[in-house]
């Protein structure tokens, strides 16, 4: 029973997008890709280093995954647009994970610059997946300018703090029809499950996997958690209550103590 994530017409059987930052080696990355079952993987552009051995592109090609280049490190719409165009040239894909950050300590997105870059890239034919904060209004604006998905954070990149404000994601889900991909903050499996239960369509995860003590195992865990959360979301959870709701009926409860009421004991 297929339940694919569809972004810009592309069907992805896996709802987990893997970020490649932080893996200790290309081998570790290759193993995590396999364990994660992902079909879409991010990568970045940096200056050529003549001493570098091994190419991440080869690893990703061998794994058969689609590429999602990012614009990490850009602080302005202009730099992000340039970087996106270089990525298109380098990787022959129109897809771009758009990052325009405001600060190198929080790596939080700069909303106005992000919106500007998104608008320009959409006009230039890109399939734009913006990394944004958890602001529902900005998410709607990004939808309005023609992005292909909206990728809010749960908490800062690499912080592992999970979803700090689930209410914002709930409100965002009410307002945004595009695919919602939780894009930062996952620290462990339950965070990924929660994202899906809140109505996200997918999860993008890098550090939680790449920097775990056992990245391959964590890739499997988060893969399972994304599926579990998705299934749970569709299965319709029970409501929350302050008090208890018995799971065992009181009907037919034995009475070991008193003689039945109103019975003249020993009367027979």
């Amino acid at each position: 029973m297929s339940d694919p994530l569809v972004i810009a017409g592309r069907k992805l059987e896996s709802r987990l997008i893997l970020g490649t930052g932080g893996f200790a080696s290309l081998d570790a990355l290759a193993q995590a890709i396999e364990a994660s079952a992902t079909e879409l993987v991010t990568l970045a552009l940096r200056r050529v280093d003549p001493t570098q051995r091994g190419s991440i592109v080869d690893v990703l090609d061998r794994a058969g995954v689609a590429l999602l280049p990012n614009t990490a490190g850009c602080y302005t719409a202009r730099d992000a647009v340039t970087t996106a165009r270089l990525a298109r040239e380098a990787f022959e894909t129109d897809w771009i994970k758009l990052e325009v950050i405001g600060d190198d300590r929080t790596l939080l997105p700069d909303g106005p610059e992000l919106l500007r870059a998104a608008e320009e890239l959409v006009a230039d034919g890109f399939v734009v997946l913006p990394y944004t904060n958890d602001d529902p209004i900005l998410a709607v604006r990004l939808q309005d300018v023609g992005c292909a998905a909206v990728m809010p954070l749960g908490s800062p990149i690499g912080s592992g703090m999970g979803i700090r404000n689930p209410y914002n994601l709930r409100i965002m889900r009410e307002r945004v029809e595009l695919p919602l991909i939780l894009d930062a903050g996952v620290g462990t499996a339950s965070d990924a499950a929660l994202a899906m239960e809140l109505g996200c369509d997918g999860v993008l995860c890098a550090s939680a996997i790449s920097r775990a003590q056992d990245p391959t195992a964590m890739a499997g865990a988060i893969r399972a958690a994304v599926q579990a959360g998705r299934t749970a979301h569709l299965a319709g959870r029970i409501p929350r209550r302050l008090h208890a709701e018995a799971s065992t009926t009181d009907a037919g409860l034995p009475d070991f103590d008193a003689p039945p009421a109103g019975t003249p004991h020993g009367a027979g």
């Binding site: 970020g19 490649t20 930052g21 932080g22 893996f23 990355l29 991010t42 990568l43 970045a44 552009l45 940096r46 200056r47 050529v48 280093d49 003549p50 570098q52 190419s55 991440i56 592109v57 999602l68 280049p69 990012n70 990490a72 340039t82 165009r85 270089l86 990525a87 040239e89 380098a90 990787f91 022959e92 994970k97 990052e99 993008l204 890098a206």
Partner: protein, 68 residues
Amino acid sequence: MIVHVNGATQEIDDGATVATVVQTMNPTPAARGVAVAVDAEVVPRGQWERRELHDGARVEILTAVQGG
């Protein structure tokens, strides 16, 4: 003639092309995953051979790394 390649100053012959400097940085320039900007404008791969660099050009030769 002086150009700036990936932030470093480099002396090149007049008439040198983008392809020339790419080759000095990256011995396998045909490899997928490389892109070049001159003065913040993308130079498509198909133009590397014929695009000559001007004096003072700022060349960025980028390639794929882990990230994101």
